[in-house]
């Protein structure tokens, strides 16, 4: 009898880009089987996706409310245990809330919600129900991010004295300069995306990465946002000054108008004994600088890495693993948590990270509105 976790999807149909990432990641370590869901609000896509996955059509639902109701009534042996939520931002909250209230573990795309208030409510429910809740900051699943986090935690670079986290994309450039396109893209629609485009979509990754690898909170921020056009309500370009818990200074920068750039999430942390730097587009290289020794370039799969990093590598050094593997690591961490197995902090981002992210987004927008002033995070 398989001990696999029964997983349901909301979103992630065959026309969904993010869907393939979650589907592959979930099956990678034989810890889940996808047994049902609402893969699309378009019912033909909904069914076609289920069919491709080999799912019994009786477990394909018209909407998430129905799914929650029917599934929660099934026997413990057959019912969905965890739900993966891959819908646009504004749907995360009602869906996650419903599934939590019905006793399902939740794996939710970021941003967690469209307001901090919603995020806090989800956390409260989650805590009261004692369920597992993951927010898929995918990039935290890379073995060299795990390695960087652990090295900093272990004091390898000493006290942190400067930080810079960056997420630069260029995809919105061709949209923003076309009035029609910019008025019809959901990322730029406040009703679907909430108060932010760039911060919500990618700035929150940069923020999360910064707090994760530093092992410390951002205390306050001063944000400068750009919209480029007056008829565009949401930020597409962001520069943020930060003050960390230990008083150290630095920046978070994210933009969607770095024309031609793809997906440049980079994190650099400078300490009193050395510095570490990592780039998402070349995820298998971690750069370690010191004053007196040659630059060291760490790669996955070597014994000099920490256990948490090695746990995230499946093949010997030199066989490049990528973003599917990073997400696979997160899914495995979630599985271990759901099954009550030993799992380490840092194996997957929790709802706490999701709440922090919403706080960051809201405060950054407010700091900008008030003329670029310092605001403290909660």
């Amino acid at each position: 009898m398989s001990n696999k976790i029964k997983l349901g999807f909301v979103g992630g149909g065959n026309d969904s880009l993010i869907g393939v990432l979650h589907k592959v990641a979930s099956v990678m370590f034989d810890r889940y089987e996808i047994v049902g869901g609402v893969f699309s609000s378009n019912q033909s896509i909904n069914k076609a996706t289920a069919s491709d996955l080999g799912i019994d059509l009786s477990r394909v639902y018209n909407n998430y409310e129905e799914m929650a109701k029917v599934e929660s009534a099934l026997s413990p042996k057959s019912k969905i245990e965890a739900v993966c939520i891959l819908t646009p931002n504004f749907l995360h909250f009602p869906m996650a809330k419903t599934f939590l209230l019905n006793g399902f573990h939740v794996i939710c795309e970021k941003p967690l919600s469209i307001s901090l208030e919603e995020a806090k409510e989800l956390k409260q429910i989650k805590d009261s129900k004692n369920l597992v809740f993951a927010v898929t900051h995918t990039y935290t699943g890379y073995p060299m991010v795990r390695q960087m986090t652990k090295m900093i935690y272990n004091g390898v670079i000493g006290d942190i004295q400067r930080v810079d986290s960056t997420y630069f994309q260029g995809w919105i450039n061709d949209i923003i300069h076309d009035k029609e396109k910019r008025n019809s893209t959901w990322r730029l629609n406040p009703e679907i995306s909430g108060v932010s485009s760039c911060l919500a979509d990618i700035g929150t990754h940069a923020f999360n990465m910064l707090e994760l690898v530093c092992g410390m909170k951002v205390n306050k921020i001063l944000a400068d946002l750009n919209t480029l056009y007056e008829d565009n309500p949401l930020d597409i370009d962001v520069s943020v000054l930060v003050r960390m818990e230990n008083g150290c200074k630095g920046t978070i920068r994210s933009t969607q108008i770095a024309t031609g750039l793809e997906n440049n999430l980079n994190i650099s942390v400078y300490g009193s004994k050395g510095s570490l730097s990592w780039e998402q587009e070349n995820p298998n290289y971690l750069y370690h600088y010191t004053s007196d020794k040659p630059l060291q370039v760490l790669k996955p799969g070597h014994l000099y890495n920490t256990d948490l990093s090695l746990d995230g590598t499946k093949l010997p050094a030199g066989h490049p693993e990528g973003i599917f593997d990073a997400m696979g690591n997160i899914y495995r961490g979630v599985a271990r948590a759901i099954r009550g197995e030993k799992n380490e902090k840092g194996e997957f981002p929790t709802i706490d990270e999701g709440v922090r992210g919403m706080d960051f987004i809201e405060k950054a927008v407010k700091s900008n509105e008030k003329g670029n002033i310092w605001l403290e995070l909660d």
Copy 2:
């Protein structure tokens, strides 16, 4: 009713490094389900692997002969359709032969066999049975290898006038200098590995890559092999001069004693109009040089790529996919072939590539034995 291909494994138990690659790759596109096999000659590993995969123990066999016999007697609806062979080199031939003769499609690790004669026999059987046979030269599944192949085929770099294919690893260094270790490693044992270590394990990849991307055969070779120690019978370091079908010259170099190097498979092709270069360790970059324009760096997922390349990318540009994804592409190509769907040459390496590889290995060993003379390939 799922149309997934029922897949069986020989080898690939939980203690197998290569196993995880094939298991993940096979499920990536929802085209296969693993239903049975002999995952290990160690029966407790055999069963534990099956259990993790959620496989009914009735489909777990003691050996491949039993598996072939029992499975071929099952109903078409439930029987294994394709077998994945992941055992040491010398077992490839008897296993592949048995499964072919019993009507199974085969996906086999390289090298195809331990002699050219065996390889040819397999090809003869395969042809007579009209089955699909893939040899998993994994690296050919990368989108930028597909792109390079197509660009050369389309004449982008003109006539090929120089070629260099390289596969450098360092892992055997710590073994070769330790008498006990080098006398107990299966890669250096002729009874298990055949006539070659380095050529068979990685040189054959470099050779295959060269013929693939150039779209032309290597006509003749002159090989220089090194063993380092007199009590080591098999090559661990190889330099080969090549003459291509069109008369152009170049080299194939492979070594297992490039201390500290991981998995450096690189291919460079120089043409009359430009040059292309690709490296396995950074697989998402393809370098295109010309005389009069800036260096161009192609990356996966962009519309400037060919259809065959784009077919191999699941996410938008900047989300690095890796070797699991490359193997996933090969598995999907095989699935399309098995199901009789449209599939393009280059989606997966066939038994023809396997036979060519064995010819290369044998001739290279012979060229070296005879004092580094030119020998023609078949």
Copy 3:
């Protein structure tokens, strides 16, 4: 009869790091001969340097006042025409003023002075005397910086919509954490360095580079400075939000506590049609990104470069030139200006850039003191 420009030095003795850069750069194109100066306040170094240079001791002076007086009294044929000032910051003003008033052209290290007021006074004198005045922002002499500037000017990347200029070093880390060292380093001594360490030493380069390549001014800034220790009065770590002349936003970041980093001056400009990025440590690569074509990597010496860029390269492509060659280009530009030959804007940084730099330094310090507020540059 040689038409070489007679050059005098103030500073740049054999114990000076910066001295070798100027000496080599000045002789590179046979446009200057060094004929005299005050190479050091230490008279034995002063004379030894002159001797190594093959300079007649009658032209070696005890101090700059004497040098200005004696040299200005010599015949036009033999007297020094231009003076190179390489002393600590606080001496730039009195020296440059004296030499200008006595009719000498000046080549001065940055920052131009220790206050904006001084800088403006120098500019006024320089203008009234119709002399050539260069401020050696060395990095502007690289051929690919010239290429980047021209490409932006030519509209290759369209309208500028985001900018980031960065200068990260780590050399002060080992000093700042040692109380004795940090209290005895001249860069951290306000009497010698003026109001700033990091801004004055390297931030001004990042600022200058930004205005140069964008061909537009920074309108206002909001700066966040760090000193790390209370007993250290001067900034060693800086983050600045900027608003460009055209309204576009971005950052200037500079730090001396990026432990282990060497000399990372980078500039990235993102436009509506494409982006350009350049790094000082790998100065012969210019990255050009667009939405729909492969990344293009431009290198020096190719005919696809602009005339201004090609003017800065002496050897065919692939023969890496470096920082001495960059400074050599600047010296040649100055020589052309002194001799009244055709020379293009951008061949060397003028006193205007020096004045702008001082404005930036003063306003950044003030913005920080006032709690990180926006201040307009002149």
Copy 4:
């Protein structure tokens, strides 16, 4: 009274590419002054060059014979001491011979001559005269080549077990495919270039680099040469198998038809304890691989480098020096030798390297002619 070495030039006129490299390099450290020469066989260029250099026209000669005769008759105080020879290959021998016989030190471009016999004769004369003779393998002057050489000498990577030296250019591609051009290029004219194009021009650099950094000789070679067209007599593409003094194997590859490539001289040496790799186009990076530690990237100017390497760096780490600086280091080493100062093996390439190079070229051509057979070097 200046102690500078009086230097004369043969070749290196204003129309000469190589001239600027030697002129700048010679003045870089204030060790030479250029006082006369035959800068061009074109007398107007000859005089214009001298004029630009500020040279008295009485020291400008019509030809090298006149120069040798007149200069050797001058007083020791004023006469040229060393001659720099920058003419096409076939002129190196008669010129160098003449100057040696008249008591001048010689700095000669490579290849040393157009035959091994000539090279040996030059060496004999040089030895009998007790003069300094440098062959300008420019690339050996880079600080990281010096570092690599010393690290290998010091045993850092253990016993050498595999070597690869490569020099790939593409510049001849556009010439070779144009009948008229290829029949009129001096590099392809045996009367001017000798028996080889590619080997003589760049293969000899790769060979020299290999023997230099390994600190050991190449014992024998097997060469495969390509001409592409029947009417082209000289090699433009070369692959060579090598056997080193210690029995280790490897390759030397050089080509002029790697379309679009610039000046890719790379050297990799693999040892029993680690490996080292260096590339001319990014000369300030030295890669050190080991089995169990992260890749280390060494850069110039750090105290972890050897004295010989540090001697070759003028500025602090992060200020990239280039090929002019590499040649400057060689010129300084020659100056030290001429003045009898302490200088270390490896500061400049001597006539011994020049003789070895000619041996390599001749044997490689012969090996190819005889059907790719092994030939021993002297």
